[in-house]
Structures are given as structure tokens and as C-alpha cells.
Chain length 313, copies 2
Amino acid sequence: MKGYIGLDIGGTKILGAIFDESGKIIKKVKKKTKAQEGIEQVIKQIYKVTDELLEEKFDLLGIGAGSPGIILDESVVAFSPNIPFRDFDLGKKMKQRYKVPFVLGNDVNVGMFGEWKKANVKGAKNILGLFIGTGIGGAIIIDKKLYTGQGGAAELGHIVVEPGGAKCGCGSLGCLEAYSSKTGIQNAIEDFLQDGEKSVLSQHIGENKAIFSSSDLKKAYDDKDAVAVKVMDQAVYYIGVATGSLINIFHPDLIIFGGGIIEAMGEPMLLAIKEEAEHHVMPTLFKDVRFDLSHLGDEAGIYGAYYLIKDNI
Amino acid sequence: MKGYIGLDIGGTKILGAIFDESGKIIKKVKKKTKAQEGIEQVIKQIYKVTDELLEEKFDLLGIGAGSPGIILDESVVAFSPNIPFRDFDLGKKMKQRYKVPFVLGNDVNVGMFGEWKKANVKGAKNILGLFIGTGIGGAIIIDKKLYTGQGGAAELGHIVVEPGGAKCGCGSLGCLEAYSSKTGIQNAIEDFLQDGEKSVLSQHIGENKAIFSSSDLKKAYDDKDAVAVKVMDQAVYYIGVATGSLINIFHPDLIIFGGGIIEAMGEPMLLAIKEEAEHHVMPTLFKDVRFDLSHLGDEAGIYGAYYLIKDNI
């Protein structure tokens, strides 16, 4: 059998899989990233996952991988927020060790690439992905290829939706991420509670913040908790604003929405985003654009890594 | 001699030129568009310009053209704000009549393509153009090719910079164009005057609005007219916000700024935009991006049309 390895190198875990040439998963391995133990340890963990996959007997054609951060030349991690990579040529290391082609991309980009390839959306060439989780990541597919600009493109969570607004982790004010990510939602809830409002989510706020899960949020929203409804309406509003701008910029075929918040809230959130976006789009452009949910969940990254290396060879 | 024809079909005039294979202009012809007289008349005017160019003896290899509006398949004008084209296949007409390849693009897209090709920016692959005139147009060049999405992409003037803000001609609220185009600036001046502020630009406001020229605005700004300074600072602020978002989205090699307002205000406005944009960009992305002014002025459209057809053959 001939096959590929797809690696999803995350801040907390590394997930790897062997794919056969038809795209079927043959074997999966998951290990901790151990990012706090330094770069040498992270590399060891990547090797461990790969070596364990290679215990399976098959003819390895190439390895694809996704990693958080800014990726240059499909090989070098210029900078990563969660892993201690700095101008680190992971591609060179991997090619030296495994003697096969290796391609690296940004994790969110790669995940959305996997979503799109796996969904096999007919006729769609230009696709955007918005990934609403702890932060907000994005992906841009132009003419069926991942677009990365000079390496750091598709930071769609840092579209300015409210100039001079809420402080964002990136240092700017009013980014989409500052309102509509889990972190932004958590901050907004905190503000409401400080203003004296009541919410079932208050148990997750305070000195020792126990970050609520996306399903806690979903439950509070479904129970019509006033604070949960207000912060989610605000989150949807700003995703709609950003999506409107994105359609005016890209006139894309398709926008895929994924990430923990979207997965928890589901179809109703997608419809609400679509409805809001329409208010911010040029009338002639909106009707052409499809909105869809992501489907692969945790496996988007390994699928994307597989398609990335397969397309590259 | 072998050559190409480049046509810039504008709302008020049609400019055409013969280019030799080295890109030198051999002959230029300009005629009124006569858009108010209906579509048949506009086509006649396009033919007239082309026919008059063809009086020159040369071997025509192809025709490129730019037109306002949403262009499909490099041939059909789906919709144009200034010319009565509706789902009109201009490409078919032109190919039938002149028996040569023909390529059509959006006028602002094509103009910015001309700017970029003519400037011959070494190494730049991904370039954005922002054209600040009566409205605000944009252009996106990805991997050295014009990007148009489903035909209507690069409406960069309709990035939402202030949700719920100033009313825009497109029907939305808070678009960049509503603040930073000449129309937006005119409206802002009007608001200040209604609030009782004094300005040398007041002569251009009122019942029979005599729209001020970009050089009137430049003079008032240089003379430190308080209203002119405030509205221009606001215009620059929002261009900076939008530019910041665009860098986070595209991480482009280069952004070219053009259009009447930019041409009149010149280098100081470019520097002010750059300074403002930096506040809205992820720190790691900003340093890589070049800012430049457009240089071709009125001839950008015909140059772009020429490069478009030349690249296409």
C-alpha cells in the first residue's frame, strides 16, 4: 500500500494519521505536544507520532502538517503563539529524517482546506473559512489553493469591526476576535455581571475563572439566560459585519463556519450570521454566496494535511 | 507592426490606445460615452474609438477593456452603476466585429492591474489597490493575476469600518466609502457646516451643490481650514482602519493608493494612512507590506487593458 501522513500539531496535542491514496484513514496516533518543555521536546513528540505511524507497513509518499503560527515557504514556522517555534525550519528537519516530501501550513488554514476538500464542494473555487473558537482563525482558498500571502494571511479574526472598541489579544482595538471568540464572549459576560446583571454563567466568572464550555453557553442561550442571549447576539452581529465585509472583498463561492462555538450553537447560529451579513453586503453580491457549517471537527487538521501533501506531489 | 488595443470605458468618456508589443502607446483616441443615450449609443461610441484606432496600419493581436460594474467571464457586464449595461455580453459583440481575442475587466481592477504591471514591482505577487475618488474602488491581484471572485470582488470601498455608521450609496451603513470617498468627505463637511462651523469649503455646499475639486480640498487642508482638517483626518482614519484589516486578511506584498483624492493630497496622505493602519494590524504582519502611490493617473485604465489582453494571449 502507498500512503501519506497527515499531522495536526496543536498547542496541546499532536494528532497524526496515515491516509491511503483514496483518502481513507488507516491508523491514527495522538500524543501531547509538551510545548512548555521547549522546542526540542516538541520535535521529539512530532517524531514519536510519525515513527509510531510508520510501524504500519506501507510505502510513505509524503508528509503534510499544520501548525499554529505564521508559516513561510511551506516549511518554516516564523512565529507561533502557542509553541516555542521561532524561525524554525521544521520542513528541513522532517525531510532529513524521513526522506520524503514535506509540506507545512498554518493549522487553521490547513483544517479549512481539509473541510473543503473532504466536502468536495462542486464548482467552488474561492472559499473562506471562519473558525470561531477560543480565538478566531480564518482560511482563504483562492482558485482551489490555500492563499497565505507572505505567510501570515487569513487572520480573519483581526478584521476591525468596531474601531476603538474592545481590546483584543493582538494589541489592537475592536477586532472581530475581541467580540465573537470564546474569549471575547467571556469578557462580555464579565462586563454584564460587573454591571449587576444575573446569569447562570456567573459561576464561570471571577477570581479563578473556570472558562465555560461552548455547551454551557449553548444551554444558557437555549434557556434564554438574558446575558447569554445578549452576548451571543453581539457575537453574531459582529461575525455578520465581518462576513459582510468579506463578501464585498472576495465575492467568494462559499464560506465555511467552524470551531467550538459554531459547533455547539449549530445551524441556528449559521442562519443568524447569514441574516446579519446580508445587511452589510452589496445587494448584487450576496445572493451568489453559499454558507455552510464545517463537518470534520477534530479531524479537519489531519485531513487538510493529507490533501495538502497529496496535491503537492 | 504588431499591437494591441486597450480601452477604458468610463461613465463619461471612452479612452482607447494602440500599444506596440513593447507596451509603448502608438496612438490615443478619446470620445464621450453618451451613457444617457442608451446602450446602443454606448456600443457605437466603443466601435468609433476602436475603428479610429484601426485607421493606423498595424496587425491587431487582441483587445483588452475595462468597464465599471460587475464583469463575468471576462466578457459580460452583469451590472454597471454608470452605464446602461445589464447582463450584456460585450465580449461576444467585440469578437464578432473585430475577429480578435477580447478580454474585459472591471475598470478599477483593470486600472490597478495597469499600475502594478507598469510599475514592474519586483517580487510582488499579491497586491491590493485602493482607489479613493468620487467613490472608492479596489483591486486585488493574487499571484500576479487579477482576482475577481464570482465577478464582483474587490469592493474594498464597502468594507464596514463603522457598523451602524454613515449611510453609504450602496444601502449599507458605515462603509469606508461613506467616510473617505469624495462623496463621504462632502457629506461630512456638510454636517460640520450644519453644526455651525465655518469653512472656506462652504461655497461648495448647499442647495446647488458645486462639488469641490480635490485640489480645493487640498488647498483648504494646507491652509489649515479647521473643517477640512477634521474631515480629512477622519477620512485618513477610516482608510487606515480598512487598510489594517486588509493587511490582516491578505498579508500582501504591496498596497497601491490612487484616485483623485490621493493624487491631490499626495505623499503626506500616504504616510498618514500608513501610520494609522499600523494601529490596526497584527504586529508581525505590518513590517512586510510596502505602501505606494499610483503613478499612471488617467492612463492606468488603458495600460491595464493592454496588459490584460497581452497576458491572456
